[in-house]
């Protein structure tokens, strides 16, 4: 056994660096994996040893999966959790079963990989230039002047005027759909100048929408228990909060929010309030969120309530009115206001759930879902928000764009679902 083998044996026991590739219907499952001490879900394939493929994908080759696989630093292995094997990844270890089963499979695969580091998966794609080098000029610079031409078949970036009157390079690039920094399946075709987004288009999502939680869809046509709906809302808000805290590099608080998702009870608001106070102390608003992504006329839903407008479908519901429901609003309209609202609504939802008892609401053809107004015959709120995205993101720096994407709660998967009538 050589040095590598010895080091490999030593490495077993570290949390396995996993790069998650999330298809349809797996958003919550992958988020829960972040709480497992055996795994570390990493943001870059370069940092991972195991690629975990979860959720539903369209049949045939899936766009970009083979590239992501080859970007993992060797030694690497692929694990497919649930669902059909994916055609692009022939060597994947297929696991069915729950969270424990997949964690066991990943740690086992990792231990195997480390015991013989030279036997990872080979690359899927050939390692060649996309187009042959066609440089001319004395330094191969691609043109006859100091620069220019089409090196490697890629046209040099064109300069374009930027907003401050300078001329800067324009870099067209596709971000996503497998970037863990963004919501699963979100693919952005963008043009950068510096780190400012000049053009943004939301590309097609190569995932198959999962079943989704149909509680709020059911409430369109039949009464469902208010307590159940409000607990679902609180869980949704806390999951979103955990995701926001993760991209703002507050890993400790993010885990705390995620643990709360599994521990919430009606009326138990103390823990949420303590988390809210801790976030203020951590400088979440002052350092990261204040003034970012201010919206003027957001669609009805949490984003609108964060601008101080009290639009909430629950206000018109007699059952909710019996409970003394008043919509929560926060002034500001920026990312900080949206996060404050998220926390306030979580507390309110837990209080409502405690007060409601067995009361039921629904069957009125309109319902306030966690992301906004859900109405029969109208597109789901997720689609409205996703359509709004390009307009809001243009002109933002990349870091702010990520904050906006998460605080607006963009969800490609839910945007693709149809509301059954």
């Amino acid at each position: 056994m050589g040095l590598r083998g010895w080091l490999g044996r030593l490495a077993v026991g570290v949390e396995v660096p996993v790069f998650p590739v999330v298809g349809g219907g797996a958003r919550e499952a992958i988020q829960d994996l972040r709480l497992r001490p055996e795994l570390e879900l990493v943001d870059s394939p370069r940092h991972a040893a195991v690629m975990l493929v979860v959720g539903a994908f369209p049949p045939g080759d899936v766009d970009g999966l083979a590239q992501v696989h080859d970007q993992l630093a060797p030694p690497r292995r692929t694990v497919r959790w649930g669902g059909e094997p994916v055609a692009s990844l022939p060597d994947a270890v297929v696991v069915d079963g729950g969270e424990d089963a997949v964690v066991a499979a990943i740690t086992e695969t990792f231990a195997e990989l480390m015991s013989d580091p030279d036997r990872g998966e080979p690359p899927i794609l050939p390692d060649v230039d996309p187009v042959e080098w066609r440089g001319v000029g004395p330094y191969g610079q691609g043109g006859m002047g100091m620069t220019g031409g089409t090196p490697y078949g890629r046209p040099m970036a064109e300069r374009g005027p930027a907003r401050d009157g300078l001329e800067l390079d324009r870099v067209p690039i596709t971000i996503g759909p497998w970037l863990p920094t963004l919501p699963p399946g979100l693919r952005l075709d963008v043009v950068f100048q510096g780190d400012v987004l000049q053009e943004v288009e939301v590309g097609p999502a190569p995932i198959v929408p999962g079943e989704g939680s149909d509680l709020f869809v059911r409430a369109l046509t039949e009464p469902v228990p208010i307590a159940e709906m409000e607990l679902a809302r609180a869980r949704h808000h806390l999951r979103l909060l955990a995701e926001i805290l993760r991209v703002e590099d507050l890993a400790v608080a993010s885990r705390r929010a995620l643990r709360l998702v599994h521990g919430i009870r009606p009326g138990a608001t103390g823990e949420v309030e303590r988390l809210a106070a801790a976030l203020v102390r951590a400088g979440l608003y002052a350092l990261a969120l204040r003034g970012v992504g201010r919206l003027d006329r957001p669609p009805p839903g949490p984003a609108a309530r964060a601008t101080g407008v009290a639009v909430d479908a629950r206000s018109d519901d007699p059952e909710y009115r019996k409970l003394g429901f008043e919509p929560v609003t926060v002034e500001g309209g920026d990312a900080a206001a949206r996060v404050r609202l998220l926390l306030a609504e979580t507390v309110q939802a837990l209080e409502l759930a405690a007060k409601a008892g067995p009361a039921r609401a629904g069957g009125r053809g309109v319902v306030e879902a966690p992301r906004g107004r859900l109405e029969v015959g109208e597109p789901p709120p997720e689609r409205t928000l996703l359509d709004l995205a390009p307009e809001v993101l243009v002109g933002q720096e990349w870091g702010d764009a990520v904050t906006i994407i998460h605080t607006l709660d963009l969800d490609v998967e839910a945007a693709g679902r149809e509301i059954p009538v």
Partner: protein
């Protein structure tokens, strides 16, 4: 000091310090698997990174990519040489010691820029540019508070600065110095709320494309920069090796450990700052505070 001993000494301090940083980071961090894990984890993690292969990107600046982590480690080492650990033991207590330290910490900007630029990839490049914007904003306040400690000592030598604190430490004499030093120091090491070039929004930023040994060396070197900042902070603000009962080296180690713990704790206590907000903070808050520090110390010295 004998050259061979010096190299071993500096390497040893940085190595042990980087290990301590990793242990503290685990202890303050989000994953809790018990105290035993704090001490084992850094070793297992290093072993994994040693096994993992380095990746290649398309047409990287290969030499600069190899150079960047080595440069960062070398800068941490260079800054460390100027600090006297005990009254008689310093690798090179040169007459312009704090300037040597300042120069080493400013060149960190070059190391981070090369690390982000060389893989020929967008997010690392944005990370590199962010750090350049940061460095220009924290560079002047950082240098000012470090150089201000030389005023009461009437010397730029770190040994003389430590000696001048016999009786009254600079943390008391220059109350604005240490807070500004801690904030800008964390920014030098792009640590905690200043993880701006390596933020999650950039999926790792400057180190996004680095794997295996390259990433391990970069991590260790960055921890080394934190160690150097703590050792120097202990020397110029907390009286270095001065202290009763215990021997000098023990005081240096103790004070360094306190500052290291503060640095590492801040890494998990605060959200990542927006780069725009940091630039504003650097020029509008830190710089005036640092200037007041210079004036107050100057008047006190007259």
């Amino acid at each position: 000091m004998n050259p061979v001993v010096s190299v071993l000494f500096v390497g040893g301090v940085l190595g042990i310090g980087a290990y301590v940083v990793a242990v503290l980071d685990r202890a303050f961090g989000p994953v809790s698997r018990g105290p035993r894990d704090w001490f084992v984890w850094p070793i297992r993690r290093a072993a994994f990174l040693a096994v993992q292969r380095r990746t290649e990107t398309e047409r990287p600046d290969a030499e600069a990519w190899i150079l960047a982590p080595a440069l960062l480690a070398a800068l941490a080492a260079a800054g460390l040489t100027a600090v006297p650990v005990t009254p008689s033991l310093a690798v090179a207590d040169v007459s312009a010691g704090v300037v040597l330290f300042g120069a080493a910490m400013i060149i960190v900007m070059v190391a981070v820029f090369l690390q982000g630029w060389s893989p020929n990839s967008l997010f690392p490049l944005i990370g590199a540019y962010r750090f350049a914007a940061m460095a220009l904003s924290f560079g002047i306040p950082f240098s000012l508070v470090v150089l201000t400690t030389a005023i009461p000592a009437e010397s730029l030598s770190v040994g003389a600065i430590v000696a001048s604190q016999e009786g009254l430490w600079n943390v008391v004499r220059q109350p604005l110095g240490l807070p500004v030093y801690l904030v800008t120091g964390a920014a030098v090491a792009f640590w905690g709320p200043f993880r701006i070039p390596e933020g999650t929004d950039l999926a790792g930023g400057a180190v996004l494309e680095a794997s295996g040994s390259a990433r391990a060396v970069w991590r260790i070197a960055r921890a080394g920069v934190l160690v150097t900042l703590s050792v120097m902070g202990a020397a110029i603000f907390l009286g270095g090796h001065l202290g009763p009962v215990l021997p000098g080296w023990a005081w240096t180690a103790l004070k360094t450990l306190v500052l290291l713990a503060v640095f590492v704790w801040s890494g998990h206590a605060f959200a990542r700052m927006r780069v725009e907000r940091f630039v504003w903070f650097g020029w509008v808050v830190l710089l005036p505070v640092a200037l007041v520090d210079v004036f107050a110390s100057g008047i006190l010295a007259l």
